[in-house]
């Protein structure tokens, strides 16, 4: 991944997750050992694009546990009950904030526009399918698993 983009999205994600969801993200420089993520089977995928002087699309894969935890934290924390719709809504909002914040860093003049984020639960995804992606970025979130991110950029 382009280092400037990597730095911007890493800083934006850390800010959003800490401020809004009380969740610490540890950016990883290398793919973590298989044993760390082998049990991550259920994911929520979120995609969001941006257009303008910079163009790109980011795809995030949230382990369901992470998606559920950030939703509960966003709604007040503790043992608050969360529904599937709220989980997808929170994931959409999380990527919207993260990529919006990233663009604020990369495009301070505001020449780019952010697309509407889309989130869905995926049963068929395995992190193994993105390991070969050169634009892969992985974050460790402690007991809630790993956040996987890939991006496509264009001119």
């Amino acid at each position: 991944m382009d280092e400037t983009l990597k730095h911007a999205i890493g800083a934006a994600l850390a800010e959003v997750f800490e401020t809004m969801f009380f969740t610490l993200l540890e950016p990883l420089e290398a793919i973590p050992p298989h044993a760390e993520w082998a049990r991550e089977k259920h994911f929520v995928e979120a995609t969001i694009s941006y257009q303008g002087q910079l163009n790109g699309e980011l795809r995030f894969f949230f382990p369901h546990t992470l998606a559920r935890n950030i939703t509960a934290n966003f709604l007040g924390g503790g043992d608050v009950e969360v529904g599937e719709g709220q989980i997808l809504d929170t994931v959409r909002e999380a990527v919207n904030m993260a990529v919006g914040s990233m663009l604020g860093r990369l495009d301070p003049e505001g020449h780019c526009t952010l697309g509407i984020p889309v989130a869905r639960r995926v049963g068929e995804f395995s992190p193994e399918s993105v390991l070969a992606d050169l634009n892969l970025y992985v974050f460790r979130t402690g007991s809630a698993g790993h956040l996987w991110l890939t991006c496509k950029t264009g001119r």
Binding site: M20, F74, G85, E93, N96, G100, I116
Partner: protein, 147 residues
């Protein structure tokens, strides 16, 4: 008491803002919600609101178009509008300010930021309202709004 309208396409974000506003100490009367500018216009046909907090990036009618319509309507043009958005570029902020936005909060936000801006905007709106009331109808004391 102030009636508040929150406009955001994320239901959970609206719930989070509602919670923050509830904890802010601002005396809230009715709390209304809408998923985009179009829905918000429909809400405002049925209910009076004293302040609007709106996102920008929404389907159907985005926050900038919504702000433009509010400020172009003589019935609603004095209602303060606070933008709460991920779009933090200087150009977007200047556009919102030029259209008449009273405040701008960047997501992600700290609860204190919403409280500070909401309080500031409502104090100014309250002072403006007092100026517009004829002297004989104004409150006798120099009582100020206190959150």
């Amino acid at each position: 008491m102030f009636n508040i309208l929150v406009v955001d396409d994320s239901e959970t974000m609206r719930a989070a803002i509602r919670k923050v506003v509830g904890m802010s100490g601002v005396p809230v009367g009715e709390f209304h919600e809408a998923g985009n500018g179009k829905e918000a216009m429909a809400v405002m046909e049925d209910a009076w609101v004293d302040v609007i907090l709106t996102d920008i990036n929404m389907p159907e009618m985005n926050g900038i178009e919504f702000l433009r319509r509010i400020k172009g309507d003589e019935v609603y043009s004095n209602i303060p509008v606070i933008i709460i958005t991920t779009e933090s570029s200087q150009a977007r902020m200047e556009e919102a300010e030029a259209l008449g936005a009273s405040g701008y909060v960047k997501k992600p936000f700290l609860p204190e930021t919403i409280k500070m801006i909401l309080t500031d905007v409502l104090e100014k709106a309250y002072a403006q309202r007092m100026k517009e009331i004829p002297a004989e109808a104004a409150p006798e004391s120099d009582e100020e709004m206190d959150f």
